[in-house]
């Protein structure tokens, strides 16, 4: 197995172009499991840990630019105000040791439907930046997930960053698992409100072949939400939102949970997310008044 260890981004892109079958490795928390258990025997590994810009983060034209290799720990520690839903998801990933290495770029590269970063990226309408020797393009997270572990990324491309819009309203992430640490989600849900555009974003994890949006639920809540005063929505509205989220899921029965349970869990998480959003929204109004 070849080990390619570029020290610049240009070298990395050239290496990926010359060896499209080389497997990129950042935090290694997915790749190493596959290697140690012989599930994958790639002809080459492309080590991305020596490329400084992959660990950078900062403002970029109204977005927060998050280098693909920024570990979860940094997101929790430094970026929780700039990316609340993603920071909450980052807290829920695996264990402290794994959060010190694992990255959003790696979550996107593996594109497991259970990955915790995906629902927030969908809910906030983030962009995924893909780069190759041919150039750079940005794909909406909402267009990124194509099928089970299949994405918009082409073989010669690397993920360079994700771009998160400035938060414009309450955001949340929740996850159901058998315990707090080290669990792959049975189901997860993220909600983001945009008070300026008066739109609602959602993301569903671990309840379909890819991470999903609940588009009907988004439209419904956007039209029902009291954007001026954040009056509590009626119980019927909240229940309906939960049902619409659950019906957008395409879950299966597996070792972690039944399809029925996953739908139920999603409706509960969705209802709670609405009540948190109302509370946060009111606080925001009170602060601005």
């Amino acid at each position: 197995m070849d080990f390619l260890s570029p020290s610049t981004w240009e070298e990395a892109l050239a290496a990926k172009s010359a060896h499209p079958d080389a497997v990129p490795i950042m935090g290694g928390t997915d790749v190493m499991v596959e290697l140690n258990f012989g599930r994958r025997r790639p002809p080459a590994l492309l080590d991305l840990t020596r490329i400084p810009q992959l660990r950078d983060h900062g403002p970029d034209d109204g977005y927060l630019r998050l280098g693909a290799g920024v570990p979860y720990t940094t997101i929790i520690e430094r970026l929780r105000d700039r990316s609340p839903a993603l920071a909450q998801a980052a807290r829920a990933v695996a264990s402290p040791q794994i959060r010190n290495r694992g990255s959003v770029g790696g979550n996107l590269g593996g594109a497991s439907p259970a990955g915790d970063a995906h629902p927030p990226l969908l809910a906030v309408d983030a962009l995924v930046e893909l780069a190759s020797v041919r150039g750079v393009r940005r794909v909406a997270a909402r267009e990124f997930y194509h099928g089970p572990r299949r994405t918009a990324r082409r073989d010669d491309e690397l993920i360079s960053a994700v771009l998160l819009p400035e938060p414009a309203g309450p955001q949340s992430f929740s996850k159901i698992g058998t315990r707090n640490a080290m669990v792959i989600a049975v189901a997860s849900f993220s909600l983001a409100l945009d008070a300026q555009a008066r739109t609602v974003g959602t993301g569903i994890g671990s309840a379909g072949p890819t991470p999903l949006r609940a588009i009907e639920a988004e439209k419904f809540l956007a039209s029902e939400f009291d954007w001026d005063g954040a009056a509590s929505p009626s119980p019927a509205t909240v229940t309906r939102f939960g049902e619409l989220v659950a019906s957008a899921a395409r879950p299966i029965d597996d070792v972690r949970g039944s399809a029925h349970y996953r739908r139920h869990a999603l409706s509960v998480m969705a209802r709670r997310a609405v009540s948190w959003a109302v509370t946060d929204y009111r606080k925001e109004i009170a602060r601005c008044a």
Partner: protein, 170 residues
């Protein structure tokens, strides 16, 4: 493919030729005879292989040795100074923070890394608002040590030991 690397382990430099597939954990145990990090699962679940890599706690089984070329690795063997146990190690002894001891080197490294994270103000990972300043109560210790399993179930005393070590370090 093989690569020549230099591993700095517990303050000593080791020039080494490794197969590129070798994990840091295997390099430490099989090549350098540094056997305190244990291989409990080889896939990130148990934390028995926890070491400090450039000061941060990580799972030795999830890192390639080649990727550690030039980095500083500290294992349980390297925590103490001049024949003295590190305060965290001493606390584990004083409070019976183990039974068989298999998970202990990983627990101890994890606790050392964790106490530094708390001192640096890293926020809570327990079910509290992210913005709260960390308070190291028992629930918080449990959450922050959640990457380390103990098959003997010595958790109660591990929590006590970590709490005691935190008192000493204050």
């Amino acid at each position: 493919m093989e690569s020549d690397i230099i591993l700095r382990v517990n303050g000593r430099e080791w020039p080494l030729r490794v197969d590129t597939r070798t994990t840091l954990l295997d390099a430490l145990r099989e090549r350098l005879g540094v056997t305190s990090p244990k291989k409990g699962c080889d896939h990130g679940q148990c934390g028995a292989c926890t070491v400090l890599l450039d000061g941060r706690r990580i799972n030795g089984c999830l890192v390639l040795a080649v990727a550690c070329d030039g980095s500083e690795v500290v294992t349980a063997e390297g925590l103490g100074t001049d024949g003295e146990l590190h305060p965290v190690q001493q606390a584990f002894v004083d409070h019976d923070g183990f039974q068989c001891g298999y998970c202990t080197p990983g627990q101890v490294c994890s606790a050392v890394g964790m106490l530094e994270e708390v001192a640096a103000g890293w926020p809570s990972a327990a079910g509290r608002p992210v913005a709260d300043t960390p308070v190291l109560d028992d629930a918080e210790i449990r959450e922050r040590m959640s990457g380390n399993l103990c098959r003997c179930g010595a958790y109660a005393n591990i929590v006590t030991a970590v709490r005691a070590a935190k008192e000493v370090s204050r």
